[in-house]
């Protein structure tokens, strides 16, 4: 940790919230309801807020990430805020600002997906969201 907050670790970029770093809702509920809009983990990959507890997703091309995703799934996830870009799934939770990206062009979203498919796969099963 630095005075400016956590330093980016590019070797772990896009891996999502580390599976071995616990972050529970148990001690956050009162904070959220009384004082703060959100509480983040030290690495800023987990957040507790009115929505519950959410974790940054693994978007590397590992099987625990987006390895099995199609381009269409990626576009649907960003455009419609659907988890894993599939019908009938839960919404993508805050603080992922998908509404800010939903108007990106097909060309840009396809380029993003193409890039993400080239980065180093990282095995990391991100915890499931929790309710407060």
């Amino acid at each position: 940790m630095t005075p400016q907050g956590p330093v980016l670790d590019m070797a772990r970029r896009f891996m999502g919230h580390p599976a071995d770093e616990p972050f529970s809702a148990a001690d956050k509920k009162e904070l959220i309801q009384s004082q703060f809009v959100a509480v983040f983990s030290p690495g800023m990959t987990a957040a507790a807020g009115p929505w519950g507890v959410s974790f940054a997703a693994n978007i590397t091309p590992d099987d625990t990430g987006i390895g099995a995703w199609t381009e269409a799934q990626f576009i649907k996830a960003i455009r419609e805020g659907k988890s894993k870009g599939m019908e009938g799934t839960r919404p993508i939770l805050p603080p992922m600002p998908w509404p800010s990206y939903k108007n990106m062009t097909d060309e840009d979203l396809k380029a993003l997906f193409a890039y993400l498919k080239t980065i180093k796969p990282i095995n990391n099963t991100v915890p499931k969201p929790q309710s407060l």
Partner: protein, 59 residues
């Protein structure tokens, strides 16, 4: 002399307007981004998606 100059001039003009088919095809191919270009664009765009997914304290 005048006829020769005219002939050369006409030849030059007509050849200026003729583009080999290969040039047009090359132009079309050149305007389409390569796979590498697409990935590079994606890398640039990924910087705006950093959000909370890239912030991990160094261990």
């Amino acid at each position: 002399m005048t006829a020769s100059v005219l002939t050369v001039g006409l030849f030059a003009l007509t050849n200026c307007n003729q583009q080999p088919a290969a040039d047009n095809q090359t132009t079309a191919e050149a305007s389409a981004p390569s796979d590498a270009d697409i990935v590079k664009r994606g890398e640039y765009l990924s910087n705006i998606l950093v959000a909370t997914t890239a912030t991990h304290p160094k261990r």
